[in-house]
């Protein structure tokens, strides 16, 4: 029965391989991709239900006992994130065929898409630090393929930088794992957590922790390592941007959340203090970036950075409210970022430009898109009763509990500025005189359906917080109590 933990990785992997065989028959591939994505979502939800009923599922691959072999750990946090990943994947797969050209679809889009899902789910589910690196590489390889989809001049140029940067941080990751192995003699996360408490020289552990943090910070786009993000996220197609914006940086944040609640908690005065300051800087610089540009895709891409800052703030606080705020915000942000990227992509497609100065009065032709975008902005900025508000409320409460008022003030200020940056799109793009452009209501409806789905979920997440919050609370308890994770993996 423990085998179910590997299903969310295996199903997309097999599907990705199968799509290579008949990648030219695009109608069949589309149907197959949608079917498998829905199946995978169903399986993920079922595993989630199983985990809630029976507790953490641990799979020891190849029948190697826990600290020696590679383990897959499906605890609540991991499986909730896998479910969210699959929800976004579902929305994106239904959006893809309207947004991509036929040539791009045939150039193995669905293969790379499935491999990306494999990598992301694997990174969430693995219980082994080196295996985490392997799944990072799987998702990065898929993302390389997706960035250059179309093979335009700008895409190749930007992807070159993206690949080089990620290659560098991956090698740093390997080196850090080797360092950690020489100190604690294991790469199983649970056993590392156990042995870290016995190591006498804590200084070296803090150093390793910080280096590991910078590896994850590169992937997660935390100040000062976010410079690569905005451009490489806007050059690919909209559906690819949505997948990247929703999933890739969140894997980095999840890794920080996991490693710095489980393993490196020995010197929180240095590590977690650093997180809080970097979180504050990420918020400020990200939102300034979002205000500085007139490119609508770039505005959303820059808005990833303050969101990452909010999640990092919760990890830095390391108290009940902070961690549950981070977890809640993580799930909320995955959904809303995907929705916003899809909406902005639809807007850019319908307006024929992504430059705000050349856009006006879109709401006359597309009222639904306009009001959806308005709600999306409110969700992102954290206006009650939407999901962003609950995440931010928890985070700010955590900050006040720890008496860190500077970060609380910066957080509130950032939320306001996020709202301003989003309202700029709304005011300049949607308000104004009626533009004389070609109206395509049929196309617009197709483009908006996935975003409607995601936005509805996001609203449910906010209004139904009463139902959802107990799960977040359990996740927080599990995260802050390292013993429960260690026990479930090592079975002592």
């Amino acid at each position: 029965m423990s085998n179910i933990a590997v299903l969310p990785i295996l199903i997309p992997l097999v599907a990705g391989i199968i799509t290579i065989f008949f990648h030219k028959k695009i109608k069949a591939v589309r149907f197959f991709a949608k079917l498998v994505t829905l199946l995978n979502l169903g399986v993920a939800v079922w595993i989630g239900y199983y985990v809630i009923q029976n507790g953490t599922v641990v799979l020891e691959t190849g029948d190697w006992v826990a600290p020696y072999g590679i383990v897959m750990v499906a605890d609540r946090l991991a499986i909730f994130l896998v479910i969210t990943t699959n929800i976004i994947a579902t929305a994106c797969v239904f959006f893809a065929q309207h947004s991509l050209s036929l040539k791009q679809e045939q150039f193995y889009f669905y293969t790379f898409y499935f491999l990306l899902i494999t990598g992301v789910s694997g990174a969430f589910l693995t219980g082994d630090l080196f295996n985490l690196f392997v799944f990072y590489e799987v998702l990065l390889m898929a993302s390389y393929g997706l960035v250059i989809l179309g093979g335009e001049r700008v895409q190749l140029r930007e992807s070159l930088k993206y690949v080089l940067l990620n290659l560098f941080s991956s090698m740093l990751f390997v080196t850090t794992v080797a360092f950690l192995y020489s100190v604690v003699g294991t790469i199983n996360m649970a056993q590392i957590a156990q042995r870290v408490q016995e190591v006498e020289q804590t200084g070296i552990l803090t150093t390793i922790g910080i280096v590991l943090f910078f590896v994850f910070a590169t992937k997660g786009a935390i100040f000062p390592l976010y410079f690569w993000l905005p451009k490489s996220y806007i050059v690919p197609n909209t559906v690819v941007s949505a997948l990247f914006g929703a999933l890739l940086t969140k894997v980095g944040i999840y890794s920080i959340l996991r490693t710095f609640t489980l393993m490196f908690t020995n010197d929180t005065g240095v590590t977690h203090e650093l997180f809080i300051w970097l979180a504050a800087l990420s918020m400020l610089f990200g939102v300034i970036g979002a205000l500085s540009t007139n490119n609508i895709k770039l505005i959303i891409a820059y808005n990833i950075i303050p969101a990452v800052g909010f999640m990092l703030m919760g990890i830095g606080l390391l108290n009940d409210a902070g961690i549950s705020g981070s977890v809640y915000y993580l799930i909320h942000d995955m959904i809303i970022k995907a929705a916003l990227f899809l909406m902005v992509g639809a807007l850019a497609y319908l307006a024929g430009t992504s430059d705000l100065t050349k856009m006006k009065g879109m709401i006359h032709h597309y009222p639904l898109l306009g009001w959806m975008f308005f709600i999306g902005s409110l969700v992102l900025a954290g206006i009650p009763p939407f999901s962003g508000f609950i995440g931010k409320l928890l985070l700010l409460r955590g900050g006040i509990e720890e008496e860190r008022f500077v970060i609380v003030v910066i957080g509130l200020l950032t939320s306001l500025l996020i709202l301003l940056s989003m309202m700029r799109i709304f005011m300049r793009g949607f308000w104004g005189e009626k533009p004389d452009i070609k109206v395509q209501p049929k196309q617009a409806r197709k483009l908006m359906m996935p975003a409607v789905f995601l936005l509805t979920l996001s609203i449910i997440l906010g209004i139904g917080a009463e139902w959802f919050y107990p799960h977040v609370d359990t996740i927080t308890t599990e995260l802050l109590d390292q013993g429960s994770y260690i026990d479930s993996v090592l079975k002592e």
Partner: protein, 112 residues
């Protein structure tokens, strides 16, 4: 022995960083290759060198080397092999399409 290997890995890292900071794409790729070599050598050193026989279990074998670093290196080599070959193709395509292999000229502007 470990010290020498650590120094060697450090030298590889230093050369790699120097190459990564160059402007020509090919030099940068050589830098990434050297970087991965340094990292692999580092893993090997971290697992302690010279502890005994190869980690293949046959009957009556004495003390054997830790097999884990070797498994890690193999995985890492495969991955860096894949990424490097992808990077070579990408660099080739990017330089032919952009008509330059100078990173300075590949910077790009705000409005595109």
């Amino acid at each position: 022995m470990e010290i020498i290997m650590a120094v060697l890995a450090g030298l590889l890292f230093a050369t790699a960083i120097y190459n990564l900071l160059q402007k020509q794409i090919l030099r940068i790729i050589i830098g990434t290759v050297l970087l991965s070599h340094g990292a692999h050598l580092f893993i090997l050193t971290m697992g302690k060198l010279k502890r005994g026989d190869p980690p293949i279990i046959v009957e009556g074998a004495g003390p054997f080397t830790d097999p884990l670093p070797q498994a890690l290196i193999l995985t890492s080599i495969v991955i860096s092999f894949g990424v490097t070959s992808f990077l070579l193709v990408l660099a080739y395509r990017a330089s032919t399409l952009n008509k330059t292999d100078n990173m300075e000229e590949l910077r790009g502007s705000e409005h595109e």
